[in-house]
């Protein structure tokens, strides 16, 4: 039997909705596991990326320095890298903050926002620095494929993954393309 493909997944500036939709392939996960094995992923809770991965799926855009670090690591170690979902592809809802300055956003959340007590912008050195703008993944590294949707439907995930694993063009038919 051929060696299984290694898949890694992660969520950057996303909501984990794409991962939830991925899990919505339901019992087809069992068929998928005949073909692939999971490396780092919130699905199996493995925290560190292996040295050589075949397929990386990234949900979410890039909003802070840690996102940049993780994304570059995925690019270095994954043979094929896929931007999954609206946020990974365009920046999505998190990038709606790009219409404002970072200072305005932080002050709205932590100083002037409704119900704020002990007004103070978090500054713990452990916290990753926020970028001035939220970026889609392809602004930072080369992305090989894009899987659109908010989230992509379970059928879109299934079509995309099975086609890609079979070595075919994983482009979605129009009926499976959605941006919402």
């Amino acid at each position: 039997m051929a060696e299984k493909l290694k898949i890694a997944t992660c969520s950057l500036a996303g909501c984990f909705g794409c991962h939830m939709s991925f899990l919505d392939i339901d019992e087809r996960l069992i068929d998928l596991l005949e073909l692939v094995e999971f490396d780092r992923s919130p699905i199996n809770d493995i925290k560190h990326l292996g040295p050589a991965v075949d397929l990386g799926l990234i949900e979410g855009g890039v909003c802070n320095a840690d996102n940049v670090h993780v994304l570059r690591q995925f690019r270095d170690r994954c043979r094929v890298l896929v931007a999954v979902g609206e946020c990974g592809i365009t920046g999505g809802v998190p990038s709606m903050r790009n219409s404002f300055t970072l200072k305005q956003c932080l002050e709205e959340s932590y100083i002037r926002g409704a119900g704020v007590e002990c007004a103070h912008i978090p500054d713990d050195p452990e916290l990753p620095l926020l970028l001035n703008k939220v970026r889609p993944l392809h602004h930072i590294v080369k992305i090989d494929y894009f899987l659109p949707g908010c989230p992509p439907s379970a059928d879109a995930f299934w079509h995309f993954l099975t086609e890609l694993v079979a070595g075919r063009d994983p482009s979605l038919p129009p009926a499976l393309i959605h941006f919402d």
């Binding site: 931007a83 609206e86 592809i89 365009t90 920046g91 999505g92 809802v93 990038s95 709606m96 790009n98 219409s99 703008k133 970026r135 889609p136 392809h138 602004h139 992305i143 494929y145 894009f146 899987l147 659109p148 908010c150 482009s171 979605l172 129009p174 393309i177 959605h178 941006f179 919402d180």
Partner: protein, 241 residues
Amino acid sequence: MSNTFFLDGAEIPFREGQTVLQAALAAGQYIPHLCWRPRLEPHSSCRLCTVIINGRPFSSCTQPAMKGQSVACDTPELQALRRAVLQMVFVEGNHYCPACEVSGNCRLQATAYHLGLHDNRFPQQFPVRERDSSHPDVNMDRDRCIRCETCVRASRDLDGKNVFGIHGRGIHSKLAVNSPSGLLKDTDVAAEDQAVAMCPTGCLTVKRVGFKVPIGERTYDMESVVSVALKEFREQEAAHG
């Protein structure tokens, strides 16, 4: 021999004065388009309807149909160029489909689905644009404007009001409002206007009805942009000839 031309090899009849796009739609053949609408003068700005006629590119919404001409439309090269044009449209604005009340009713989005757009390819511009919510019934969100001038033409030619215009040049051009204050509240625009109804994106919307039809049951959830455009053309032909 009657007046016909060839579109991707298929023989298409045409009436004197029809454009290539009109003749194609009349024959039930879809050529992708955004800024062209049946009841408005062609604008020829979106370039999606570009076809190759006898080896040269033309916008089919303005090019008169001519006897015997050979028109290429559905080729991999032209479809790739159309996708690139759409990708530029998407990155130049702020089109947040998941957060847009028009998602599912949006012609830009439906055209992107039809052309198989998976990504935006170019760097997102994230422009900062002004919104105008001053009018009691009509909202204007310039983030979603693609400067197709559908509202400009519809307001002037169908509504007889001349509410909208385009101000500035190139990437800095923006939708302007024809009132001393520059605000919608000081115009006679109304929720029933064709200018509002015909906006192909969510730039001009009627307030308080955004989610009357739920996501998943909207125009392009039920039909492709191809059948909607062909139906729109047939209805226009039946009503106005």
